[in-house]
Symmetry: C2
Subunit: 339 residues, 2 copies
Amino acid sequence: MAPIRNARVLFNSVPKGFPVPGETTVYDTTQTIDLDTVPLNGGFLIKTLVLSVDPYFRVAMVPVSSSGIYCRIAGFGVAVVVCSEAPGVEVGKHVYGHTILHQEYTVVHGLGALQLMERHPNLPWSVYLGAAGMPGQTAYMGWKEYSSAKAGEVVFVTAGAGSVGSMVIQLAKKDGLKVITSAGSKEKVEFLRSLGADVVFNYKTNDTRMVLKKEGPIDIYWDNVGGDILEAALENAAVHARFLQCGSISGYNSAQESSKVFLLVCLSITLHVHGVIMAHLPLMKYLPEFYATIPAQLASGELKYPEEVTRGLDKVGDVILSVQKGTNKAKAVVLVAEE
Amino acid sequence: MAPIRNARVLFNSVPKGFPVPGETTVYDTTQTIDLDTVPLNGGFLIKTLVLSVDPYFRVAMVPVSSSGIYCRIAGFGVAVVVCSEAPGVEVGKHVYGHTILHQEYTVVHGLGALQLMERHPNLPWSVYLGAAGMPGQTAYMGWKEYSSAKAGEVVFVTAGAGSVGSMVIQLAKKDGLKVITSAGSKEKVEFLRSLGADVVFNYKTNDTRMVLKKEGPIDIYWDNVGGDILEAALENAAVHARFLQCGSISGYNSAQESSKVFLLVCLSITLHVHGVIMAHLPLMKYLPEFYATIPAQLASGELKYPEEVTRGLDKVGDVILSVQKGTNKAKAVVLVAEE
């Protein structure tokens, strides 16, 4: 068979601001491939079926070398195997992963980050890039791992009409929560109602703070947006609220505020932050074991403790001052009387 | 028996800046009490033995009424019962709680927030205000509930010589962690070494960032301080780090930065913040159940999904732009080829 076109998309130059189709990215049709004779060298040839285009692409649009040579685009995708010399990777099987090139045909050596995937007979492959793929999995795992959701609680989901947000909303409804969610268009608001969300509003035409004040406080906040809506969520958070920072990307590029840096770190390394105060800790869960073990260990010297004892109720004022100034040497206690 | 002195400490006026002993707080000896004839009215009379002086006292030093009448000071303390008409509260028993007045004798009606307490024979009552009391319990419960500590991990504890910090350090060593900790004096540094901490430094004479860069990254940060040291900890945090914000009080009074507001909210309502990205989620724990359930529910329509399919590899550049601008209507996928 004669060589055929093997079209691809190339990342051609670094965008100043938004990417420019045809300039920062180029659709290139000059490349050809002969499907019968292309050397596989123990690998396999795939035909790309469907590709995902995600927000993170923009972050990857940077110079890849000091020589200014740019590169092919890869992302989440599904492809079918059309020729193979690789054991276990038969023709007709499908592969899924985040390293699929934006190119019609590709020779692959070893599965690497790709995995063999079977499709549900009633689902198109495209869904495996959304609700049944990385975004849906992020929603599913993040919800199960971090939400600590309980029936009757209130969750607020931003960008609810996205592939992550819409999955979170539906998982929350299955778990018996009251769901508040927002989107930026009439169509998306209608879609959100169809998901069964309890309170749906267009954040462009409604005051988020008013909605949350009326419908909150929030036990769980799933954040795909960040910025001012995050601040509004903070102002309406319940005690022991869980904030799941999944995408606070908007505005990060120019952000200077510490709170954004803080949240960026939370997001990028999956930082877990917990407020710790006695009033909100589960006393019944821990105090019996605390009293059963700790005093004896303190008495035996197995555990040490710092203490600065001042004698006399008349010294309380001085001790208060030393604690405020931090000049006390250890835990300050005032001995008022012997028995 | 004749009436005897019943000295007390009164909160007399709101401090401008630091409290002033004898002025903002007054030791008052004018009050008397007759221990034999004081009416109990079904309550009990306690003699104060030991009182705790804590940093939070300053926060309570505000006008209690618009008429400018100020009040007695109460806090954590231990007292002994000297007379009683209350069933179950026998003479000679001890009570502990955060409502003990700074006063020699007090008539109490009902235990309320007080609890009957027995002392370990080898521990003075003062320890029940520190390591065996509220600070020790905060450390114990916070560590068990939120640290998710694993042997071999690295924890950084600020204000390690305090009653909270020193307990955290010792719990961390018992759990097999490497402990980095800081204090502000030579004596405190020596005490920290005696606790078995692995890396001890004086933050006034050492660069915290240098220490953490060399000895980190940090898996757990127990923060009693906040401010610049918190920033240094953030810069040296490991993936999946847990930040336990127990006291970031320093500097809050004048703080304007959002990060401090954010952390103040985390602390005051015990907010839990989790970064959520696919790369740090436990795939092996959830993906089998995800694939076993979600695709079938999407196929049956039990779960809905948003999707915007564009046909043709040549449209990738346009789709990239629409995703960056947010003009896409749903999860963006590009259909490259049919099988």
